[in-house]
């Protein structure tokens, strides 16, 4: 296509990678133009108007505002164009990912722990099929980290206390660097890994070759019982607690009259900060599990609740 004729540009590995690179080339081109013009003028004036050069220096420009308005307006128009260009692609990069194929990522000092929904887990590596949008659900166990794949021109901070959705798609198979890009302590520069993008068939084969301990949802179910959640939320409970079957993805009426959607974040907050959003018609009795359950366990619980919500985890 026509883009291939542009110097420094190549289509890239992710759907928007080519767009980002084109933007980069555009910025480079505009900068080279301005810099070239500036250096040319500086050199020209320095040579032409050096003190030892006796040339006519009369009729110096006094009216400056024509020039001022012109170059201000030109700068502004140029900047506006670059702003819009960058903003459009940014919104595509960070759009909410479709919820078809999710992978959970837990960042902790100083490693990336990856969990596939089927239970396959990896450390500092992420296997994905090509040409499918993958929804990453990322959480941090401790400090702020940042998930950075240079080849995909993609980065997002992973902030403790919240879930971060990120869509990644690799169009070409290959191994790509994964870096932590937010300083996180001693082994920050060691917190690297690789993204392995594979053909669909290879990826399916890889999945079956792993020794999964069990699908995440299944492990979540076990945790649900071990941690005593079923004691209140289970069928035979004497405690009046909101039922969780069919809950995921539905709107939940809250005690203050508002509604909130039961998404991953809601589930996680309900476990850690149960009193922050009380469901309507229920007493605030649920104890907090803050400090008693790790991010790994949390995402298994979330996967479980999602599975009993009638959705594919």
């Amino acid at each position: 296509m026509w883009r291939e004729w542009i110097p420094f540009w190549h289509p890239g590995v992710s759907p928007h990678g080519g767009d980002v690179d084109l933007l980069f080339v555009g910025l480079l081109f505009a900068s080279a133009l301005v810099l070239g013009l500036l250096f040319f003028l500086l050199a020209l004036f320095c040579v032409r108007y050096r003190a030892s050069n006796a040339i006519d220096r009369g009729h110096q420009t006094s009216k400056s505002w024509h020039w001022e308005v012109s170059w201000t307006a030109a700068s502004f128009v140029c900047f506006l164009a670059l702003f819009v260009w960058g903003a459009v692609i940014y919104f595509q990069i960070y759009r909410t990912p479709p919820d078809e194929l999710s992978v959970f990522v837990v960042a902790k000092q100083w490693m990336w722990k990856v969990q596939h929904t089927g239970g396959q887990s990896e450390i500092n590596a992420l296997h994905i099929p090509i040409s499918r949008p993958i929804r990453l659900v990322m959480a941090s166990q401790d400090v702020i980290h940042s998930f950075f794949i240079p080849a995909l021109r993609l980065k997002h901070d992973v902030v403790p206390g919240r879930y971060q959705d990120l869509e990644i798609t690799a169009e070409k198979p290959g191994h790509y660097h994964l870096f932590c890009a937010e300083y996180c302590g001693t082994e920050h520069s060691g917190m690297t890994g690789e993204i392995v993008a594979m053909e669909a068939a290879d990826f399916a084969a890889w999945l079956t070759q792993q020794a999964p301990s069990g699908p995440l949802a299944q492990e979540g179910g076990a945790l649900f019982r071990e941690l005593g959640c079923s004691g209140c939320h289970g069928g035979g409970s004497k405690v009046h607690a909101p039922p969780l079957e069919g809950l995921y993805g539905k709107p939940v009426p809250l005690a203050d009259g508002s509604f909130v959607t039961a998404d991953d974040k809601y589930i996680r907050d309900s476990i850690l900060l149960p009193r922050s959003q009380i469901a309507a018609g229920y007493e605030p009795l649920m104890p907090s599990f803050e400090g008693k359950v790790s991010e790994d366990q949390l995402l298994r619980l979330v996967a479980y609740i999602k599975s009993i919500g009638g959705q594919r985890p």
Binding site: D19, L38, R57, Y90, I93, I144, H156, D157, A181, S189
Partner: protein, 535 residues
């Protein structure tokens, strides 16, 4: 010295350490700043030596993290922010506006003592074992996880912040109240306009930093969570509070440099600065709009996309006044009579290097590209082009320009030009490869890195060696000039500013008779003779 001047007005320690003379206070600051520049530079040297190879061979990871943190803290708060305002500003401002001193001389001295106290506390933090949070102190790492002397370091910066605030306050009041008769606002040299804009930022932004640092200390010392997500605190709130100060702070670290460039470009083109009013108001615009862009440090942090949109837009807007200045300086050269003395070489270098730094800022303001480039060496290169290629270059230019006035001596023009050229070359070799590294994806604050990044790192480290030598050279020829340089006349550059209408070095009382201003600044006759502002 044959005549009475501020240097021989007293030789006792008391006359220096209890001085209220703005000129002596400037010298006190200058000496302290050289000291801190060496410490920050030593940290940089070790960083660059370590980064010449992909593995860790010089220092441990913990030590490396302390090195880049201390480099940032020292260079930002104990070198760049006080640099031009407290040395050249303190010395030249009263002379330039025809005043006897700043508005509050004792406050000026207090500023220096607070600076030294803050510096001492921070040095103590370094010697005790250092800080490893990065100069940005991001939470919850700095408040809950770091095993280093965070509270000490934060206390040192907190104290130094008061030095900044008092300096800014002193300058603002001085500009409003102590201008010589006839010196209207539009007759002020543009160095003053730039320092005024800088002072507004110093006064309004620094208190927010003070409060943020207090909150970090409270969280660490008392074990309470303000930014702790486990009790519902928000780590991103810290980033907003921190950058609300720290973005305007970077304008503190460039506006004075731009101010100096005005003086140099006009003097060595023998012409008034093109578009004086535009340049003056561009400084104020940079200060004002600079308060509205802080979120561009947080495009990938998880802040709302709408917020990112607004901050990106404002970041493009803030680039416009800087562009205006660059165009105006270039236009000043047109039909001028250009001399290539060392200060002018620095000014020309500034225009080029600042423009590169500024253009790469546009790359980062651009949302989609920032997703890739933020937290990589692209950002490191960008801000070093502005702060070192820009501000430090301007500082050296101003230092050479006003050296005869401050010391009463002339330096070796040959060695000065040689240094300027070597600095330019060494600087570009050090930092341009870092743009490539960032574009290729090398993250910042990395102690070890994948081997494919080594080539550019070696170039950068090689450049750093040259830059270090180049920065050391002025110590020698400027130092030599103090003892053996030719005596300087009152106006060695034949410039029209008020500071040149009094002897070099100036008498303690600055002017024998109160100057009365009758002309705008930067006036030269058709045959390029200066027309002094008070003639």
């Amino acid at each position: 010295m044959s005549e009475d001047n501020y240097l021989n007005a007293g030789y006792s320690l008391r006359s220096w350490f209890l001085t209220t003379d703005h000129k002596r206070i400037a010298i006190l600051y200058f000496a302290s700043l050289i000291f801190f520049f060496f410490i920050g530079g030593a940290a940089a040297t070790m960083i660059r030596i370590e980064l010449a190879t992909p593995q860790a061979d010089l220092v441990s990871s913990d030590m490396y993290n302390r090195l880049f943190t201390m480099h940032g803290i020292i260079m930002v708060w104990f070198f760049l922010i006080p640099s031009i305002p407290n040395t050249l500003g303190n010395f030249i401002v009263p002379l330039m506006i025809g005043a006897r001193d700043l508005a509050f001389p004792r406050l000026n001295l207090l500023s220096w003592y607070l600076f030294m106290l803050g510096g001492t506390v921070t040095l103590f933090a370094i010697l005790a074992g250092g800080v490893d949070t990065g100069w940005t102190f991001y939470t919850p790492f700095s408040t809950l996880y770091s095993n280093s002397y965070v509270v000490l370091a934060v206390a040192g910066v907190f104290i130094a912040g008061f030095s900044s605030i008092l300096t800014g306050l002193n300058f603002i009041i001085t500009f409003h109240r102590l201008r010589a008769p006839g010196l209207t606002w539009y007759r002020l040299p543009l160095f003053i306009w730039s320092l005024y804009a800088t002072s507004v930022i110093l006064v309004l932004a620094t208190p927010v930093l003070a409060m943020t640092l207090v909150l970090i200390a409270v969280e660490r010392v008392l074990g309470v969570g303000i930014f702790d997500p486990r009790i519902g605190g928000d780590p991103l709130l810290f980033q907003h509070l921190f950058w609300f100060y720290s973005h305007p702070a970077v304008y503190i670290m460039i506006l004075p440099g731009m101010g100096v460039i005005n003086e140099l470009v006009s003097c060595f083109s023998r012409k008034q600065v093109f578009g004086y009013k535009f340049v003056a108001w561009a400084s104020m615009a940079i200060a004002a709009v600079g308060f509205l862009v802080w979120g561009h440090h947080m495009f990938v942090s998880g802040q709302s996309l709408l917020a990112s949109l607004v901050f990106s837009f404002m970041s493009f807007i803030v680039a416009v006044p800087s562009a205006i200045k660059v165009f105006n300086w270039t236009a000043t050269l047109h039909k001028g009579s250009i001399h290539f003395d060392a200060p002018m070489l620095y000014a020309l270098a500034f225009i080029g290097l600042f423009t590169i730094g500024g253009l790469t800022g546009l790359f980062l303001a651009c949302l989609a590209y920032d997703v890739h480039a933020t937290d990589t060496y692209f950002v490191v290169a960008h801000f070093h082009y502005i702060m070192v290629g820009g501000m430090v270059t301007a500082y050296f230019g101003g230092l050479h320009y006003w050296w005869p006035k401050i010391t009463g001596r002339l330096y070796s023009e040959y060695w000065a030009r040689a240094s300027a050229v070597l600095i330019f070359f060494g600087f570009n070799l050090t930092f341009f490869p870092q743009f490539v590294l960032g574009a290729e994806g090398m993250p910042r604050r990395y102690h070890v890195y994948p081997p494919e990044f080594q080539v550019w790192n070696v170039l950068s480290s090689g450049g750093a060696v040259i830059l270090a030598v180049a920065y050391l050279m002025p110590m020698f020829y400027l130092g030599y000039s103090l003892f053996f340089g030719r005596r300087a006349p009152a106006n060695p550059w034949n410039a029209p500013g008020l500071e040149w209408q009094t002897p070099s070095p100036p008498p303690e009382h600055n002017f024998d008779t109160q100057p009365v201003v009758t002309r705008p600044p930067y006036q030269y006759s058709p045959d390029f003779e200066a027309e002094p502002q008070n003639a």
